[in-house]
C-alpha cells in the first residue's frame, strides 16, 4: 500500500540554480525512490517577468529566474516543489545568502498553497550529503533506510558519469541527457581551434541559454574554444586557488575562481571571459580577484554583466570585439617575431653593402 503511494508521488524541480550542476544526481536519487520528476519549462522572457513581479527589484537575476520557474511548475499543476537550501559545502565555506535562503524567499514570496521539500546541506554544522538526502526522503514520507541508501548511490553513479562525460568535452545539455538515460559515451576527437578562452560563470548562468544568451554557441561559431568549469576536476580547482595564494571563501568559487585559475596557471588560454549577474555579491569579489591575477600575467579579460534587460545585440558586439582583440593581439605577436627576423636580414644586407663599398673604395 505504502509503495503504491510512493509511486504516485510527483516532485517538481525548477530548472534553475542547483539544477544545472546537480540534476543528474537528483534524477538518479528520485527515480530510484520511485518518484516522478516534473521539470519546469526552459527559461523564457515571460518566465523571468513572472519571477521579477514577485520579488523586490534589488534581487539578482538568477533568483528572479528561480521564482519564475517555481511559478511555472505551480501553473503546470505540480504542488510539491524541490527547493534545496545549500548553505555550505565545506567548513565555513558558505554560499551566497540568497541561495542559502532560497526556501525562505520562496515561502514568503509565493502566495499559493503548495508543499515545499526543503532539505539543508550545511557542512559547517555537519549536515553532509547523506543527511541532505535523508532529509529530502523524510519530507517526502519515505523512511526506509535501505532504499534511501541505494537511491543515494544511484544518484552518485548518474552524477559521476555526467561529470566524466562533460569533462571529455561533451556539451552540458547532451551530457545531462546521456547521464539520466544511463548512456555513457566519451568524446574522443575534437577540432583544434585557433583560440581558446575560459569562461568563469556560475553553472546556472552559463548553461541557461536564455540568461547566457547562448554564449557557448556564439563562441563556437567564432572559432573560439571555450573552457568551462566542467572541464576541470574539483581538486584541480582547489589546488589552483591555493597556488594563486588565495583561499576558497565561497561555496561556488570553484566554478569561477577555480576554473579561471586552473587555465590561467596552465597557460592554455588566450583570454578570460567573466559572465556574472548584475548585483551578484560573490561574483563582484571573485571577478576582481581573477582580474588582479590576470593583469599580472597580462591575459586579456572581458567582464559581461547580465540582467533581465540585457539586449542580445550589445552582448554580441562585445563578444566580437573581444574576439577581434584576441586576433589582433596574436597578429601583433607574430608581426613582432617577423619584424625581428626582417631587421636581422636588413642588417645583414647593410653589412654586405658596406663591405662592397669598402672594397670599391680600396
Amino acid at each position: 500500500m505504502e509503495r503504491h503511494e510512493n509511486l504516485k508521488k510527483i516532485i517538481g524541480i525548477p530548472r534553475a540554480i542547483s539544477y544545472y550542476n546537480n540534476y543528474p544526481f537528483y534524477h538518479g536519487f528520485f527515480k530510484s525512490l520511485g518518484i516522478e520528476i516534473v521539470l519546469s519549462d526552459k527559461t523564457t522572457a515571460k518566465l523571468i517577468n513572472d519571477g521579477a513581479k514577485h520579488v523586490v527589484s534589488d534581487t539578482c537575476l538568477p533568483i528572479k529566474v528561480f521564482v519564475g520557474h517555481v511559478i511555472n511548475l505551480l501553473d503546470k499543476g505540480c504542488d510539491t516543489i524541490f527547493v534545496p537550501s545549500i548553505q555550505s559545502t565545506g567548513y565555513k565555506i558558505n554560499n551566497c545568502s540568497k541561495i542559502r535562503g532560497l526556501p525562505e524567499i520562496i515561502r514568503n514570496v509565493i502566495n499559493k498553497p503548495f508543499e515545499m521539500i526543503e532539505p539543508t546541506l550545511d557542512k559547517t554544522e555537519g549536515l553532509g550529503i547523506k543527511e541532505f538526502c535523508f532529509e529530502t526522503a523524510h519530507q517526502l514520507g519515505i523512511y526506509d533506510e535501505k532504499s534511501i541508501n541505494s537511491a543515494i548511490s544511484s544518484g552518485w553513479s548518474a552524477y559521476n558519469s555526467f561529470v566524466e562525460m562533460a569533462k571529455s568535452g561533451i556539451p552540458h545539455k547532451e551530457a545531462v541527457e546521456n547521464a539520466i538515460n544511463g548512456n555513457y559515451t566519451l568524446k574522443k576527437l575534437s577540432l583544434v581551434k585557433p583560440f581558446s578562452v575560459v569562461i568563469m560563470a556560475h553553472g546556472y548562468n552559463l548553461f541557461d541559454e536564455r540568461i547566457s544568451m547562448n554564449i557557448l554557441g556564439k563562441l563556437d561559431k567564432m572559432g573560439i574554444r571555450a573552457y568551462t568549469s566542467l572541464d576541470i576536476t574539483r581538486q584541480d580547482g582547489i589546488n589552483s586557488i591555493h597556488e594563486l595564494d588565495e583561499i576558497q571563501y565561497w561555496a561556488n568559487e570553484l566554478d569561477l575562481t577555480g576554473t579561471a585559475a586552473y587555465f590561467m596557471l596552465n597557460k592554455k588560454i588566450d583570454g578570460i571571459i567573466a559572465l556574472s549577474a548584475f548585483g551578484c555579491g560573490p561574483d563582484s569579489l571573485m571577478v576582481d580577484e581573477i582580474q588582479y591575477h590576470a593583469n599580472e600575467r597580462k591575459i586579456p579579460m572581458l567582464h559581461l554583466n547580465i540582467d533581465e534587460h540585457t539586449g542580445e545585440a550589445g552582448f554580441v558586439t562585445r563578444l566580437e570585439a573581444f574576439a577581434d582583440m584576441l586576433i589582433r593581439k596574436n597578429r601583433k605577436k607574430l608581426l613582432q617575431q617577423n619584424k625581428c627576423r626582417n631587421i636581422e636580414i636588413a642588417l645583414n644586407k647593410q653589412k654586405v653593402q658596406e663591405q662592397n663599398v669598402m672594397t670599391k673604395v680600396k
Binding site: D58, N94, G101, E104, I105, V109, G279, C280, L285
Partner: protein, 401 residues
C-alpha cells in the same frame, strides 16, 4: 559534530597577522563605525600604543573609497577603504580589523583592502582577528601582537575602560532617542549627548568609567520633557554598519526624532560585543539573537548569514509589542538584507505593521529620502491616532453601558 578544517585552510587563517614592523614603531589605525573610535582609543592608549584616528566619514572619504574599490562591492567596504587610506596618509603603519567569515562579503574585506592598498604603494602591517573560534583568545592575541604589552593590569584597565565606554555610549544614545522627540526646548538633548560623548572620551580611570552610566542617566533626567506627549515608536532595523554609522544612514534617527517619533534600535554595538566575546555558559538570559530566531520561526527556518534573521525576528517582535512602524535600511546590493526585504513584505501584510525600506548607496540623495521618511512619519502618526481614538471610543462605550 564539526567537519575538520583542511590544514592548508587553517594555516592561511592563522597567518593573518603581518609582522614587518617592530611593536615600538607601530602607529595603529582602524576603520570607523559610529563611535567605536572612543572605546578602542581608550583600550589601545592604555596598552601604550600610538594611534591615528581617521577623520569622520564624509563625502570626501566616500569619494576616495569609491575611486579605489571595485564597482560591485558594498558601501561599508568603500568607506572602510577610505578610512585606511586617510589613516595611512596621516602616518599610520598598522591597520586593525576584525573578520567574521561565513556571514557575507564582510569576510573578504580585509583581504581585498590589503591587496588594493599594496597596489597603491602603501607599506603597512595588517592585523586581522578572526571571529572563527575562541574569539576572546583571538582578540587578546591581536592586541598583544600590536602592542607587545606584557602588563596584565594594563589589559584589565584597557578592556574595562573600553567595555564601560561602549556601554556608556550606547546608554547615552538610547536616552537621546527617548528624549529627542519629547523635549520642550529643541536641541537640548543633542547638546547633552555631544557633551557626554566628550566626557566619555576624556575619562581615563576605571572607576570614573564605571560611574558614567549613572551620571548620564541623571543628566538626561534633568532635560525638560513633555511626558504626556503621544509619541509613536519606530524600530530601526537593517544592516549593522549602516545602522551604526550616522554618515551612511544620513542621521535618520535625528530626522525621525525631530519629526516627533521615538526611534528604538535593536542592534547595539555593546550587545554584539557581549554576544561575541562573552563565553556562552555565562549567558542566562535569552540573547537578542535567540529571541529573533524564536519570533522569525514562522517566516524563516534557518539563519542565512548577516543580520537577516535579526531583521525579520525584530520586525515580528515589533508588531507583537505594539510598535507603530519599522524602518529597514540596507546598503545597495547587500545580500542578506535583500532576502529579508523580500520576507518583510509578507511580514508587513500578515502582522499589520507599516514597513519602509531605504536602500542606501553613494548615489542616494538626502532630499528624496527625507520626503519618504516624512510621508512614513505621517502615516505612522495617523495610524497611532486612529488606534488611540478607537480605544477611547471603546472606553466611552463601556462607561456608557
Amino acid at each position: 559534530m564539526k567537519a575538520k578544517i583542511s590544514e592548508r585552510q587553517l594555516n592561511k587563517y592563522s597567518k593573518n597577522m603581518d609582522n614587518n614592523i617592530s611593536a615600538k614603531d607601530r602607529i595603529i589605525a582602524w576603520p570607523r563605525m559610529g563611535r567605536i573610535d572612543i572605546p578602542l582609543k581608550a583600550l589601545l592608549l592604555s596598552l601604550g600604543a600610538k594611534i591615528v584616528i581617521p577623520p569622520v566619514n564624509s563625502n570626501e572619504a566616500l569619494e576616495l573609497g569609491v575611486k579605489n574599490s571595485i564597482e560591485g562591492i558594498c558601501l561599508p567596504y568603500k568607506l572602510n577603504l577610505a578610512n585606511y587610506i586617510m589613516a595611512l596618509e596621516q602616518g599610520a603603519n598598522t591597520l586593525m580589523m576584525f573578520q567574521a567569515p561565513g556571514s557575507c562579503r564582510l569576510g573578504n574585506y580585509t583581504k581585498m583592502a590589503q591587496k588594493t592598498l599594496k597596489k597603491m604603494g602603501y607599506e603597512f602591517d595588517m592585523v586581522i582577528f578572526d571571529m572563527y573560534q575562541s574569539k576572546m583568545k583571538q582578540t587578546l592575541q591581536a592586541f598583544w601582537h600590536v602592542t607587545h604589552c606584557v602588563n596584565p593590569y594594563r589589559y584589565y584597565k584597557g578592556f574595562s575602560l573600553g567595555f564601560n565606554k561602549f556601554f556608556a555610549i550606547d546608554e547615552a544614545q538610547k536616552l537621546l532617542f527617548y528624549t529627542r522627540p519629547r523635549e520642550i526646548n529643541k536641541g537640548e538633548a543633542e547638546k547633552c549627548y555631544n557633551k557626554w560623548l566628550n566626557i566619555i572620551d576624556n575619562t581615563n580611570s576605571v572607576l570614573g568609567a564605571k560611574c558614567l552610566i549613572k551620571k548620564i542617566r541623571k543628566d538626561f533626567a534633568n532635560i525638560e520633557i513633555n511626558k504626556n506627549k503621544n509619541v509613536p515608536i519606530v524600530y530601526l532595523l537593517g544592516e549593522f554598519f549602516v545602522l551604526l554609522d550616522p554618515y551612511v544612514n544620513q542621521d535618520i534617527e535625528k530626522t525621525l526624532g525631530e519629526l516627533g517619533i521615538e526611534v528604538q534600535r535593536q542592534i547595539w554595538f555593546s550587545d554584539w560585543l557581549e554576544g561575541v566575546l562573552k563565553p556562552s555558559f555565562l549567558n542566562k538570559k535569552e540573547s537578542h539573537r535567540q529571541r529573533c530566531v524564536r519570533h522569525a520561526k514562522k517566516y524563516m527556518k534557518r539563519a542565512i548569514g548577516g543580520e537577516c534573521i535579526e531583521t525579520v525576528g525584530d520586525a515580528v517582535y515589533a508588531a507583537k509589542n505594539g510598535v507603530d512602524g519599522v524602518i529597514h535600511i540596507l546598503p545597495f546590493s547587500c545580500m542578506p538584507e535583500i532576502v529579508s526585504q523580500n520576507i518583510l513584505n509578507k511580514v508587513s501584510k500578515e502582522e499589520d505593521i507599516p514597513i519602509l525600506t531605504l536602500v542606501l548607496d553613494e548615489q542616494t540623495g538626502k532630499a528624496g529620502n527625507i520626503t519618504r521618511i516624512e510621508a512614513f512619519a505621517d502615516l505612522v502618526k495617523r495610524k497611532k491616532f486612529k488606534k488611540n481614538s478607537e480605544k477611547k471610543k471603546q472606553k466611552e462605550e463601556l462607561a456608557n453601558v
